[in-house]
Symmetry: C2
Subunit: 262 residues, 2 copies
């Protein structure tokens, strides 16, 4: 496939998408950032031509991937459309923004959402990252599927409505779990215990649900209604971390209500 792809943005998602496309022999033709320094940096790290002025954006790409912060998607699409024309095909990469945010600027629009947390320091296993695709027409969806099928073993055509709900679930398993790790670290610090004690347990918890449904992996005092242990934990938290006591109680109740065997 010889489709020319232009990448807009210089953040984590732009960086990893650029690397990922190159690894799969679909190098992007150009990367653009409004900030000269960012444009130069991402161009250098991806080894591809960069631009930092709107007028220099390649006008003949088959796909423009707008990988910028949620707030910036509409203004970027506005400027991009003025340069390349509204008959081009543009997608954004956000889990929390409807595809239709692009409709005022492009006749052909969609979303190319990699469901993963990206950071500069780590390269996730790209092949396993699910790609969630939304497009306004069957033809454009086919284009996204062709690209996605070369990038990952897992791609899903989904609607804006589905992606909105998916994003809630992603926040729960990613942001909220990570916050529990942070709270646990604070609890350990009370007694001079290092966070590294918990790392194998955290990893095994995540590994277990790679094959089991989480309902089958649930263990602990809440699900087995060990009220004595729950009361002891709550008493400790009320004294030492009053802010966490309410959370502990709410999560325990939620486990019992949601997963409790009748």
């Amino acid at each position: 496939m010889a489709m020319k792809i232009v990448l807009i943005g210089a953040g984590q998602v732009a960086y990893h998408l650029g690397r990922w496309l190159a690894e799969k022999q679909m190098p992007v033709a150009q990367v653009f950032s409004r900030t000269a320094q960012h444009a130069r940096q991402i161009g250098a790290s991806l080894h591809i031509p960069f631009a930092d002025e709107w007028e220099k954006i390649d006008q003949n790409a088959g796909l423009y991937i707008i990988a910028v912060k949620d707030d910036a998607i509409a203004p970027v699409a506005d400027r991009l459309s003025a340069v390349v024309g509204r008959d081009r095909f543009a997608v954004h990469t956000s889990g929390s923004v409807a595809s239709t945010v692009l409709a005022p600027y492009f006749d052909r629009y969609g979303v190319f959402y990699p469901l993963q947390t990206f950071s500069r320091a780590r390269q996730p296993d790209y092949e396993r990252v699910p790609l969630c695709l939304t497009a306004g027409s069957d033809a454009d969806r086919a284009i996204l599927e062709t690209i996605a099928s070369r990038l990952s073993g897992h791609f899903y055509p989904i609607s804006d409505e589905q992606r909105a709900v998916l994003h809630i679930a992603a926040v729960m398993v990613n942001n909220f779990s990570n916050h529990l790790y942070a709270l646990a670290e604070a609890v350990l610090a009370d007694k001079q215990l290092p966070f590294e004690l918990l790392r194998p347990l955290i990893l095994e918890t995540a590994l277990k649900v790679q094959s089991l449904p989480p309902g089958e992996a649930q263990t602990g005092p809440a699900i087995r209604r060990d009220d004595l242990v729950v009361a002891r934990h709550l008493a400790y938290l009320r004294t030492h971390h009053p802010d966490m006591a309410g959370l502990y109680e709410a999560l325990t109740r939620s486990i019992q209500e949601h997963q409790g065997k009748p």
Copy 2:
């Protein structure tokens, strides 16, 4: 080291400890369960002699490991002590019970707590499992450390007080995270989305904190105070999963209070 070890119990922890000790060339001499069928099963799966009558328990072991449910530790220790004598060395394996629960029955007692979630279906990387050791005397602690050092690269002498707090932290990162996975699965089901979509994200979330402190790995709408996204998620949950809306709100507030940059 030729110390004779007897294992009491036939659950997940007994099974994995038995396997682990055998793998490290310290096979237990005997495994005991009060339930004849369980005794036979664990004896067969570990390829070691088993007993199901108290009187048949080996009376000359250097260490008795009581790997039974929290509630059963005291009654089992009582019966065991009557058979083998209170001058023997006995430990339990629980994260949530003080070592002193054994004091009425044994002069020499302690805790050998592997900080991991065990299930029959999966074998965790034993070498990486932290072993948390408590003993009533320096000499007995040295015995536990000798065994632990052959089992795992990571062992920690800790007090009962430290283990109690460690258990709270373990509940948070294991039971509570797993419950978030279960809630996320329920949210996805609203829109016919499969749980497998979230698996790579769950794994990467756990992998990130294997090297980073969780505070540095925190991302998402709560920490970046994206009130619009938070409000949209809450509105959806209030309508479709009212029980989850309170949790979402409490976790978001906790992230902002605990980790929020000033």
